[in-house]
């Protein structure tokens, strides 16, 4: 198997890289859609970890867990897009730094 020749550390590095990309996106972008994508990246970084460890230990638990995470991500996207639509309708824009009126 090709996969078995790849050590677990590589997967972890990949996962960390994807996670940091997502985090970077959240910290620097102002567009709500980019936010959503960044969050997806972070979630999937966690998924990579789960699958990698699952594979490493030879059990299926991590992979099954990943399926759940994906379902959760889908639900989160649905809500996220809903929020973005409302945001656009109210502010004619999807810039997340603009609407700050909920603070107090």
């Amino acid at each position: 198997m090709v996969l078995s020749s790849v050590p677990a550390e590589y997967y972890l590095l990949l996962s960390a890289a994807v996670f940091c990309t997502g985090l970077f996106g959240i910290l620097t972008r102002e567009n709500a859609l980019m936010f959503l994508m960044s969050v997806e990246l972070m979630l999937n970084a966690a998924n990579i970890n789960l699958v990698a460890f699952s594979f490493y230990w030879g059990t299926l638990t991590g992979q099954v867990f990943t399926l759940f995470t994906m379902a959760l991500a889908a639900a989160e996207v649905a809500i996220g897009i809903g929020i973005i639509l409302v945001l656009y309708r109210n502010f004619d824009d999807v810039d997340v730094t603009g609407p700050t009126t909920l603070r107090w």
Binding site: T97, T101, R103
Partner: protein
């Protein structure tokens, strides 16, 4: 558990029939001939027959009946709550009394309400039906919870019926007063119910405050057979508990004697015929309380029975007079009615002589037995009972006086108004109940002529034997069982003056009869002429006090406005100022600091994300240091 005898299975129907008439009158009364009166007469007549049959069955078989109909909470769990039927001599006799009075009141109402074209008849008959139902169910209730439920219903019905003429000024206010007084009693009933065996107190069911404003037949029902009787009946029902408590018994007896005199004194100066009767009711219930407190269980029930008869008679007689007088109730505007209203006059006099306790009418025998029981137990070294006896004895004179005054003013002398000179005739539906009750008031005393039984040795004290019968034996409600209880626990022993029991009895009876005759004679002499003077005016200031009912109403208003309202306002000020102030002060600290703290928020999502990321990093670093990764 007593075995079930055939006819007893129908006992719940005694109460269910008036319930049916209530529903019929309420929903269909408008379209029925007589607007529901016939349904009510049929139903209460049926109840009367059924209760009479039940009574006969009880006497013949000597077996009571104790059956559970419905269970809320099973005895196995903490409380035993349910509905049931208890038929013992006490409740069987009471069922007959209540259904008889209810039946006659329904018949009388035909004359008093229907023939006079009163409005709201279906409502009236529905109220009467519900009233009869509640009272009958209260009587055969097998436990306190059920008794409480139906007592509440009785209170509700009295409110409904007293306030029947709700468009006028006085009835709604009287209804409200009656309701509040009832609620006050109910409150203690509830306390007693909850504390079942622990809390016995409150002889408050003697009930103060008159109920003067309802339709007259309603007064007859309330005063004779239901509302007011309910308190005494409850006390008799629970006599097994009270008999164990000498202090409570003595207080009940003394309060009873005091009530007898207190209420009678107010009846002396009243000018309205129904008011005289209302205060006389309170006074007579005082006698019953006196008897119960003095260990005269049979005497109390005897007086309850005879009083139910003659007081219903008097109220219905008053109703008849009021019809004749075109709804005038002031006795000073009557006079000379005896020629025109023969039946009413004769029956009313029979009732009055019974009330005054004149030999040989019913009231003489029962009142005498009450006083005799009190006297012998008082002489058996119980000074509080002797005090009660003296009060009760004085009330005999007063009772004789106000009763005869009422009769003289209403029926004798010359007519003082046009209405009295030409009274409006009354029909059979008025005369029939009066005649039945008149006969009963005359001969009712022979139900239990205890003095005759003692003198001749003949077994004529039927009521005593009945209440002591085998049916009560099994259910532990027999008269001698209660006698044993009062003797053992309350230390009641019979004493007598020189000459033994017979002399005490004859002396007591002679004394009370002499006092009654003296009172009646005084009134007769004073109010004899064709145009009597207002002799009570001579009492001066005392009369003012009596007419104002010892300022009880003023006192109650003061209690409400002067005391309760002021206390409430002060408490409100304290609540608003001190308690609310403290709470507000504490919360203002939170409000202020919260207001300052929330300025930290930026509302920019990116900032929060950065903070979270930073915190995670810091957390990682902390783990690294503490966990020793570095």
């Amino acid at each position: 558990m007593v075995t079930v005898a055939g006819i007893y299975a129908y006992a719940p129907a005694i109460a269910a029939l008036p319930l049916a008439s209530f529903l019929v009158a309420l929903f269909a009364g408008r379209w029925l001939p007589k607007e529901g009166a016939l349904a009510g007469i049929l139903a209460t007549g049926g109840s009367l027959v059924l209760s009479a049959v039940t009574l006969v069955e009880l006497v013949l078989t000597g077996e009571g009946y104790d059956e559970r109909l419905y269970t809320f909470v099973a005895p196995a769990e903490t409380f035993d709550l349910g509905f049931g039927v208890l038929i013992d001599p006490l409740s069987a006799a009471m069922l007959v009394i209540v259904s008889l009075i209810a039946f006659l009141v329904h018949v009388f109402s035909l004359g008093y309400m229907n023939d006079e074209g009163e409005p709201g008849l279906p409502r009236y008959y529905a109220g009467l039906g519900l009233f009869s139902f509640s009272m009958l169910a209260f009587v055969f209730a097998s436990n306190l919870l059920m008794a409480f439920v139906f007592f509440e219903l009785v209170g509700l019905c009295s409110w409904l019926l007293i306030g029947h003429w709700y468009r006028e000024a006085a009835p709604p206010s009287a209804a409200k007063k009656a309701f509040l007084v009832t609620r006050f009693g109910d409150y203690f009933f509830l306390v007693g119910l909850v504390g079942v065996l622990a809390t016995f107190g409150t002889a408050r069911f003697a009930g103060e405050g008159g109920f003067p404003a309802g339709p007259t037949p309603v007064s007859a029902l309330i005063h004779a057979a239901t509302m007011v009787a309910a308190g005494v009946f409850l006390l008799a029902r629970m006599y097994g508990f009270y008999a164990l408590l000498p202090t409570v018994l003595a207080i009940i007896a003394f309060t009873g004697g005091f009530t007898a005199l207190f209420a009678a004194s107010m009846a002396v100066v009243k000018d309205e015929i129904k008011q005289v009767l209302a205060y006389s009711t309170i006074s007579q219930y005082g006698y019953m309380m006196l008897a119960l407190g003095a260990g005269g269980y049979v005497a109390a029930f005897f007086h309850l029975t005879t009083h139910a008869v003659f007081k219903a008679l008097l109220f219905l007689g008053a109703g008849s007079v009021i019809i004749a007088m075109h709804h005038e109730e002031d006795m000073w505007l009557m006079g000379g009615l005896k020629e025109e209203m023969r039946v009413t006059y004769l029956t009313f006099v029979a009732g009055s002589l019974a009330l005054a306790g004149i030999f040989p009418f019913a009231g003489f025998w029962s009142k005498d037995e009450v006083l005799f029981e009190t006297l012998v137990h008082g002489l058996g070294a119980n000074p509080l009972l002797l005090g009660g006896y003296l009060l009760g004895l004085s009330a005999v004179f007063v009772t004789g006086f106000y009763t005869l005054r009422m009769v003289m003013l209403t029926f004798h002398g010359d007519p003082r108004t046009d209405a009295a000179a030409d009274p409006h005739g009354v029909g059979w539906n008025v005369k029939f109940p009066l005649a039945v009750l008149g006969v009963l008031a005359t001969v009712g005393g022979y139900l239990n002529p205890a003095p005759l039984a003692k003198l001749t040795g003949a077994e004529v004290d039927f009521l005593h034997r009945y209440l002591d019968g085998p049916a009560s034996e099994e259910l532990l409600t027999s008269a001698h069982h209660y006698g044993d209880l009062t003797h053992e626990w309350a230390g009641y022993t019979a004493g007598s003056v020189a000459g033994g029991e017979t002399a005490t009895m004859l002396g007591g009876a002679g004394l009370s009869l002499a006092l009654a005759l003296a009172g009646a004679g005084t009134a007769f002499v004073l109010y004899r002429g064709p145009d009597p003077d207002r002799h009570t005016e001579a009492l001066g200031d005392l009369r003012t006090v009596l007419v104002s009912n010892y300022y009880q109403d003023e006192y109650q208003v003061w209690l409400a406005e002067g005391l309760t309202l002021r206390t409430a306002i002060a408490a409100d000020t304290f609540d608003q100022g001190v308690i609310d102030g403290a709470v507000d002060a504490v919360s203002s600290v939170s409000l202020f600091s919260g207001d300052r703290l929330r300025r930290l928020q930026t509302g920019v999502v990116t900032n929060y994300a950065a903070l979270i990321a930073l915190s995670v990093l810091l957390g990682l670093a902390a783990f690294a240091v503490v966990g020793g990764w570095l």
